[in-house]
Symmetry: C2
Subunit: 197 residues, 2 copies
């Protein structure tokens, strides 16, 4: 149970760091800034974390794991491509909505990961994207979507929309995350779907 308390305080540090990184960016955030937000001295942070980058790593890879998990659940389902896409979008947005701050860091600050960690992160990311791409391709092959679609453009458009949400979405507003996922997928899918002219 010491471990629990330890984690609890450590996660408090990480959460504050996430807020800071989101506001000012990773590189512009100093350990002294972070310490001040917590009301302690900079050196005291190192009782809880090993380095500044360790914080970024845990933020990025924890989010990546949640995104992955969410998509895996969707892939198991035996439904049409457009339905899979819809569920994938809603899942992604739900994961983001659970921690918008970490999501913003995940997507804006990951490039400050060093060397092999950055590499690993990018591999996870491209894998995730490719699995969405596969869903779209499945839809074009079985006739759900238009045949002359540029898959890369489509999937990048989808991802752009998803990834910028933390920048403008207000979780206290009138529109909740499932609703927003629903509308977004409607908007994109109906743009992709072959129309019965």
């Amino acid at each position: 149970m010491e471990a629990v308390m330890n984690l609890s305080r450590k996660e408090q540090v990480i959460r504050m760091a996430a807020e800071l990184f989101r506001e000012k960016g990773y590189a512009a955030s100093s350990m002294r800034d972070l310490a001040q937000k917590l009301g302690i001295e900079a050196a005291s942070l190192y009782s809880h974390i090993k380095s500044k980058e360790e914080i970024l790593r845990s933020l990025c890879f924890d989010m990546a794991a949640e995104f992955r998990k969410s998509l895996e659940d969707v892939e198991k389902q035996n439904v049409s491509a457009s339905e899979k896409l819809r569920l994938g979008i809603i899942g992604h947005i739900s994961v983001m909505a659970k921690d918008l701050t970490a999501s913003a860091v995940f997507m804006n600050e990951h490039r400050h990961l060093s060397g092999p960690f950055l590499r690993d992160f990018l591999l996870l990311r491209i894998n995730y994207i490719n699995r969405f791409k596969a869903i779209i391709e499945e839809g074009t092959k079985n006739g759900e979507f238009k045949e002359n679609i540029d898959t890369k453009l489509s999937v990048m458009t989808l991802f752009s929309s998803l990834n910028w949400m933390p920048q403008w979405y207000n979780p206290d507003g009138k529109i909740d995350s499932v609703n927003i996922g629903q509308q977004l997928s409607d908007m994109l899918v109906n743009g992709l779907k072959k129309q019965k002219a």
Copy 2:
């Protein structure tokens, strides 16, 4: 005429800075890094620019001006809302394609502008977005688009897609910028357009 040469060298500095800021981010880019890219000493940079932030300012505000100009040309035209949207999208992408590096900086690094400059920038930006929003609203009012659209979501989706382009678009690839704008607007507009069921 001295001014011309001066500008020419100054712009060389700014261009290199744009590349650096894009790769590493503004905060993580040092003046010594920049100097090294140019083969000179850090202090020598100050013969050409007043400060690090001045570089960022000129990058951000120059791009903002070009976006604005492009949209103004479109607004003058007397065409349908969906056509205006199409032209606006193509215009935006064309401006970006003319300088993808500066575009990436414009959109990822503007937050490091200080105080009043950041404020001015954000005002320009929201104005630009609102003018796109107005086009979409025009379309919903005159029956071109579905009535039950969430305008904010739509315009944010559009912007996300546009703004992330510099991250993945390869200008040497097979698909040119007008083509991409065409496809993107097709994808979005046909998602918005009322469908003759």
